[in-house]
Symmetry: C2
């Protein structure tokens, strides 16, 4: 099916306000939050109104400029101080996604350069808003390139399984793991997507199935525990997922369940691909063992559907992410091309030739 139908935009900058699609309400309601303060942005990130590593980074960048806007009156020093303070604060919203820290570092570095240039605070603020807009715009182009590279690994008629949501809703547009599906649909290449629902928060059901279905892309929703049976049935020729952080050795942190999908893919001889921008690759994290794994409240599991589905008082383990060791990753697909093992060498090369 050829379509030009694009996913909803997860975030828009009005010039003075951040409009955020409230992804917690999907697929039932399409509602935008209107955020005026860094505290509101922090809360929106924390509570998963916005999620997906690239989208979190973009939201946080706008959060910084919302925080520094009022400090303009105090002069350049006070303004720079406000930028740094709000960047540090926004970095505490979620611990795993490196894009968050990458975007905040970029905003802080830009602010320092602007302040050092001797420009007045209001000019600095204007330039810093343009930096956030640049991060936003670059993400769209990055994702399109990731989609182009990913598409070279896929062929007409293939079944492709994905986990969680690394789609248009997780980024500025197109997504990372889902980008090739949008490009394929535009070009009449038929791919059949299997979307894991992705408990406990159901990003696969609520977001991936939602955005692909509304774009007219062939998607079949399954529960996470059905992926193995679908693979054994021979319906899947590739797995492609996003990531929240890639370590220097190629270990990949992503939504809980990704590691299991990778092990199942290997057992069935199916290639396992990770799609992400360079900003998600963290050469300062040597291996997956150094990636902090966020644990989230038990209630996501015990009453996630609005109804209590587990006994009161039962012990629950709810890690938000897991780490897939590099040996399970057949390729990492970036805007600069496809990286193959050995990752410790080849990821580093990617940055050297930037």
């Amino acid at each position: 099916m050829t379509t030009t139908h694009q996913p909803l935009s997860p975030l828009n900058w009005t010039g003075s306000q951040l409009e955020l699609l409230d992804q917690r309400q999907l697929p039932e309601r399409i509602e935008y939050l209107h955020l005026d303060t860094p505290e509101e942005v922090w809360e929106a990130i924390r509570s998963l109104a916005v999620r997906g590593a690239p989208a979190i980074g973009i939201a946080a960048a706008y959060g910084v400029v919302l925080g520094s806007a009022k400090a303009v009156q105090g002069g350049t020093d006070a303004w720079l101080d406000a930028v740094k303070r709000h960047a540090e604060y926004l970095a505490t919203s979620r611990p795993t996604a490196v894009n968050l820290f990458w975007a905040l570092d970029r905003m802080t570095a830009r602010a320092e350069a602007l302040a050092a240039s001797g420009a007045p605070a209001d000019s600095c603020q204007e330039a810093l808003v343009r930096e956030a807009e640049a991060i936003h715009a670059e993400d769209i182009e990055t994702n399109r390139l990731i989609g182009e590279h990913a598409l070279t690994l896929l062929a007409d008629g293939m079944g492709v399984l994905t986990h969680c949501n690394a789609g248009g809703l997780a980024t500025a547009k197109y997504g990372t793991a889902l980008a090739p599906f949008y490009l394929a649909a535009e070009r009449g290449i038929k791919l059949r997507v299997f979307a894991d629902e992705t408990r406990p928060v159901l990003q696969g059901a609520r977001l991936t199935a939602f955005e692909l279905h509304q774009a007219g892309i062939d998607v079949t929703l399954i529960c996470d525990n059905m992926a193995a049976a679908v693979m054994r049935s021979g319906w899947v020729q590739a797995v492609i997922v996003g990531t929240d952080r890639v370590a220097a050795n190629g270990d990949v942190a992503n939504k809980i369940g990704t590691y299991g999908v990778a092990v199942l893919a290997k057992a069935h001889g199916i290639p396992f691909y990770v799609a992400c921008p360079l900003s998600t690759i963290d050469l300062n994290t040597p291996t997956g063992a150094e990636i902090p794994i966020e644990e989230r409240p038990a209630e996501e599991i015990t009453e996630g559907f609005g109804r209590r589905t587990a006994p009161h008082g039962v012990r629950v383990y709810n890690p938000a992410f897991d780490v897939t060791p590099a040996e399970y990753v057949d390729a990492i697909i970036t805007e600069k091309g496809i990286v193959r093992p050995p990752y410790d060498v080849n990821l580093r090369k990617l940055f050297e030739t930037r």
Copy 2:
């Protein structure tokens, strides 16, 4: 923790009525259905008010006697006819669990023998009720024995992962896969159980976590997609599950997701055990390929717990079971002992020495 706390009884026979614990309401409400007709029993099986292969078989056996009770006035031929008709009808309630057919065949065979003996219809009916009660009572003893044998494979301090509910609620008492946990608790042997929540119907959250927690057994609830991470953390030394049907070659049909757990267990070097009574082993089914796999309504996935969690109109695949090939099964634990590969030989032996 030593405890004598036992799970709730999933079904009771009053002498004229079948009381069934409505497992769809757990863990929120403990409600018994009072069933007077085979149609009510059929519906209870179909709609999962009662589930678990052994419990379904017992419920169906009582369903037959509820159906034949009124036919007593018509004489022995009419009575036998009613038994056969209701057995055939009840066999259509669910397609996968072989215990259902085993129990119905046993009831029909007993009824034929009773009718052939020349006994009056009311005596035949009384004896047939005793047959259903015998199936019920034998299941309790069978499960106790399965628990004893299973316990020889486990040791104090172990973590054990289970999927779905093969517990006291799935049987007359103790359960199959969960039987060793009850026996261990009674003897002060500490086991740490990890219960997969088991989407889409959440038998692991609603039933396994419920019955183990209320019995004071150490249980941690996880989402299905967390099993791989838990295994990698080294917290699990064995997997034990129930089954709806074992084929003659040792292939195992069980709740969807079981196959994935088996593949993950093998990848992590963790033994994968299946616990079941002999009545679940079907030597007339050569391999897992011949086991019909029930597909259930999409709504179990898209709006399973009162809230829509997927877009309207999206395609859904919802198989209720999968087949785990024999090569993934380290042992099958029965009331007659532990069976190891080669299953094609050793399962047959089990019946020869009965």
